[in-house]
Symmetry: C2
Subunit: 664 residues, 2 copies
């Protein structure tokens, strides 16, 4: 422990940004004499959290740090004062606030609960920076508390299974950016992923052997709790449930037999809401699941049940007439009313997708909106609590920026103050059609970090350039958990070419991103059995190239003949494309797997873009272009490159267009 | 299925090379109409192996392939004829042979056992190559059987724990290169890693919570068996056993109390061989372990027990005098005789390290030699079976070439034909002091692939250049199992600098490798608690730069004024170093963690090496150097760069020296 008198520049690389923070004078130096004390409340969870924090501090800095936790705060470098354990089962009401003060002579972290302390330790780790020949924590005073209480990430393990190790490293990443709900989508037409000992045929016949044992699921729940994260399981009903019926056709609305569904999209099959035996089954099943998942909420799905199988079953049709249930929506509400009683019996609140919303249901039911802000607002106006998901679908392959600027509850919302309290937060959704364990990390990270900031930080934290600056740092830090969001592109490029010689392809891939879910679905017939080993699976959504080039071009265009540094950088970028292009074309031609999906065309366009970029810069910097129709031709090339073709698209067309437009 | 009439070049990328193979005419084209039949013997293991093979084939090629396994071979693309299941518990005598015939109209794989079929399917996957716009299997006729029956990899999970996911992906890699024994080093002074239900304090107090449950261990055994790999557990006794004593001091030779040992090296503590209660304990424990590990062999360690604690215990000294046991070696032999009875009772063969060898033990005991060929030869001359490990220590950080050329049983050996049959094979050793789950892959792979070839292929397969050519392909293929041996360097460089901007550092790291185990141990005080997050942990042993530059320089030097292609390649390499050097120096200076370990000096030398390389090529190509003492000065720089400094060393000094020496 030693004080520094000169004031280092406080470089803010915090994400999410705290509610309030003020940089101070000086800094606290991290040395091997670092000690930690927890003089007030302590429990196993806090101790384990402190232990992980110290290990990570050691890894970040190489400074060997004692793992002992003192009781006496005298002389300790870091004092962690926690008032109590917090809730036995974490709820939406858990107190996550903390304050963190770094001064030259020590660091103090204060929180009412262990969860608050965990949040504060993540902030502390994000503060570490280099100063001279060592590592420091810059002096700062932070008072922090989340804007929204429900900050979730949905992972769909039904359509493609994800191993426990993937879930756990994702939980590490979630904790690092202060998310607090793992929404675990465990059942789908394409797979039943959680072991039931009462109904063993659910996984025995509906999972292809890919499922979580109850012990594994409990391990995940404990792993999440250790990090202050709730696990809300989803069992999608009455639709999206073909995998249930493979072993238990008797709970379906048809006669079977059924097979695990391989195609995606909306299936016709649904549970039979008219039979008591179905509710008995669900009562047993849900009762069993509550022994694994202690969370007060249980997600019952409820989406996309169109009632096709109901209408095909004369008994169900008769039942609907008899009970005055006019349409499938009414029958689903009937189903949900019964389900609600089962949930109440097992002390669980119900949460479901938009379709669950029905006046027949009490206000206790919570709505998760995949339809959007308007739908969510409408349910709040009817008095239902809700969370927003629509703008946070990662498989839409939008930019971090687009997700970042979507607010669950903008100040412009027309909700009354009372209605506003009903919007608890939001959830990022990682649906499973087009991902597997190799690609999931690069779809979730780093974009989820900026959505986490949207859920945690004040509404007015929305400077996009600053967000991207901080995101670049956070993205690298996430690798320490074993997340593969950066490396997987290289792995994919090597697999596609069978060679380690991927320098040129790396340049090509750096300006490509996957098309949206919908475009891919149209462009490539994908089922659960489709190998996800194409170029589209290797490239990353919103790679740094897009925003980086945009910033650079904007700076250059302010004064093209003056801004030499920017000009040189642009020249270097376009030269590197030009240098890479021939090798890219050659490697694409040599790999049948790469040559598919119209990559051949994209590789040709890449060479053209390089040329246009170089020419535009030269023209703008004063060189005189002789070709009169250069601009028109160049714009035509950009238009062609913008057109749908294959499964990847360019990230750099907008800034290139600006360069061309700015030319003579 | 379609035939090609033109004959493609058969490119041999097989590793290990089969015992016999002959390239044929034409090839078999892989298309979506590919089908597989297994008309003879089938069981769950074979079906699962075929399923994995088809999935990998699909991933390599993107060709969608049906997973159905037909009974009828008529019309099938691939016919797999297996005679029987093979051994219920795989032993050293398992038949692993197979034959594989690829013709234009179909592929046939024949084997006596399922294990043989698994080996053949790995070969089939290695045959896949590009031809025109598609993927093919070139026509070839292969008759294959291993040279050695025991082809192992030791993983030390005692000193640093490795998660199950790491073990399982390592098993995938082992299967791909036809290794057949996982030697699982499960207990050490630094940690007891396997759950005992009879003695719960073994892991309860001796593991820091890092251990395999019995269920997990059984899962690993099943995972290995599915791939034709035996799991031989090692419980190191009577030394290397401090972690046992933390919970059970009563089996030690001292009085305790004990703590998990953090330092490495040889400890004084050992079990007490004089007490019946110790043997009772071991009888119970080993009996319990045989319910998890069905392998006929059980490794009892036995290394490095110097008897310090024995000599300090008057009762043990008295016992030795009474029983005429002259020295610790005699007492250890006494211990092993008792242990042998326990193993016999539980139907296990004993295997141990060199020190176990003692005339007092019967010939049934098998010796694993860490002391080397001579020691192994000596034991064979006494009639003991043995396997060789000494030349295959991965933490020695030797080149793939050095490991490759070390033969367990060279034709020059002076053993008699009968004695030669006692050498069963060898084991690669991945000791755990200087690895963790982040770095282990890059230490094991790809070097282990070439040792696997040494154990499997005929002795005369030893062309180093061809080995490196094939290894480059195999290394990329291994990534498909989730192995991180290539990507981990980038991850490390980003963690060290906190930035994604590592292009220059990548060039620098490409010509660096870790110092040997011994040099690191001297250069950095490492204990179990040392974070393994230095540059030495990021760089890879024997990266491609060493052999690639050697080949290039040799080609160039044949005629420097003529070989323009090589000259250009060399110029490009040295230019890339020169371009990277300033940025490297800047980034090293900015990262305290990088600046440690004398990396600053290495970064300066890197710039000098770049200059020397460029100058040498220019001089040799005809440019005239003006500086008379250039050669002398350059050699002095190379000498300085060769000197021990920090924890990394250059890979390229030998070829650079050749270039300088060849100059005027």
């Amino acid at each position: 422990m030693s004080a520094q008198t000169t004031q280092p520049t406080f470089t803010n690389t915090l994400m999410p940004e705290p509610a309030k923070f003020t940089a101070g004078q000086g800094s606290f130096a991290l040395t091997s004499s670092f000690t930690v004390a927890a003089p007030q409340f302590r429990d196993e969870r806090l101790d384990a959290g402190i232990g992980r924090m110290l290990h990570r501090l050691e890894y970040q800095t190489g400074v060997p740090i004692s793992k002992a936790i003192q009781k006496d705060s005298a002389g300790a470098s870091l004092v962690i004062e926690v008032k109590g354990a917090g809730e036995m089962v974490q709820s939406v009401d858990e107190d996550e606030s903390y304050s963190l003060n770094v001064a030259a002579n020590g660091v103090k972290l204060q929180a009412n609960t262990v969860v608050g302390a965990l949040r504060g330790m993540e902030t502390l780790l994000q503060l570490v920076q280099v100063s001279g020949s060592g590592y420091i924590l810059p002096a700062v005073s932070i008072e922090d508390t989340p804007r929204f209480r429900w900050r979730g990430l949905l992972i769909d393990c039904g359509r493609h299974f994800e191993p426990v190790s993937v879930i756990e490293r994702t939980l590490d990443g979630m904790a690092a950016v202060k998310l607090n709900v793992l929404h675990w989508h465990l059942t789908e037409d394409q797979g039943f992923r959680i072991e039931s000992k009462i109904y063993p045929k659910l996984t025995g016949m509906g999972s292809d052997g890919l499922y979580y044992t109850q012990d594994q699921a409990k391990e995940v729940v404990a792993y999440a709790r250790a990090r202050g994260i709730r696990v809300v399981p989803e069992f999608d009903m009455p639709g999206h449930s073909v995998s249930w019926f493979v072993g238990y056709p008797e709970i379906s609305s048809g006669s079977g037999p059924y097979q695990v569904r391989r195609e995606f999209g909306i299936s016709d099959e649904a549970m039979d809401p008219t039979r008591d035996s179905v509710y008995k089954f669900l009562d047993n099943f849900i009762g069993e699941m509550t022994t694994i998942f202690p969370d007060p909420y249980l997600h019952i799905g409820g989406d996309e049940t169109k009632g096709v199988q109901w209408k095909q079953n004369p008994k169900i049709v008769e039942f609907m007439q008899k009970h005055d249930l006019k349409d499938p929506a009414a029958l689903q509400a009937y189903f949900n009313q019964h389900l609600l009683k089962i949930l109440e019996k097992h002390h669980r609140h119900m949460i479901g997708w938009d379709e669950v919303l029905n006046p027949a249901l009490p206000k206790d039911v919570m709505i998760q909106s995949w339809r959007g802000e308007e739908s969510l607002g409408a349910s709040a106006k009817q008095g239902y609590q809700g969370i927003l998901s629509a703008p946070y679908y990662l498989d839409a392959m939008k930019s971090a920026e687009e997700h970042y600027l979507a607010d669950p509850l903008p100040s412009t919302s027309d909700l009354t103050p009372e209605q506003r309290t009903l919007i608890l937060g939001g959830e990022v959704c990682m649906w499973g059609e087009q991902i597997n364990e190799g690609t999931i990390d690069s779809r979730i990270w780093p974009r989820t970090a900026v959505i986490a900031e949207r859920f945690w930080s004040p509404e007015n934290v929305r400077d996009v350039d600053d967000m991207y600056r901080r995101l670049a740092v956070v993205s690298v830090r996430l690798e320490a958990f074993g997340l593969t969001h950066i490396t997987h592109e290289d792995v994919g490029l090597r697999a596609l070419t069978g060679t380690k010689d991927i320098d040129a392809l790396r340049v090509f891939a750096s300006v490509l991103q996957p098309v949206s879910f919908g475009n891919r679905y149209q462009g490539q017939h994908t089922s659960q059995l489709t190998p996800l080993n194409h170029l589209v699976d290797a490239v990353r959504p919103d790679p740094p190239s897009r925003h980086d080039l945009e910033v650079l071009v904007n700076a250059f265009l302010q004064n093209p003949s003056q801004h030499e540094a920017e000009r040189h950088q642009l020249e270097n970028i376009f030269s590197s494309w030009t240098a890479a292009a021939p090798k890219v074309q050659q490697q694409v031609a040599a790999s049948p797997l790469l040559a598919e999906d119209a990559t051949t065309g994209r590789a040709q366009q890449f060479a053209q873009l390089a040329q246009i970029g170089s020419e535009a810069v030269a023209r703008l910097a004063g060189g005189n272009g002789s070709q009169a129709d250069w601009k028109q031709n160049s714009l035509a090339v950009l238009d062609a490159a913008q057109k749908p073709q294959g499964l990847v698209r360019f990230t750099v067309l907008d800034p290139l267009r600006k360069l061309v437009e700015a030319g003579q």
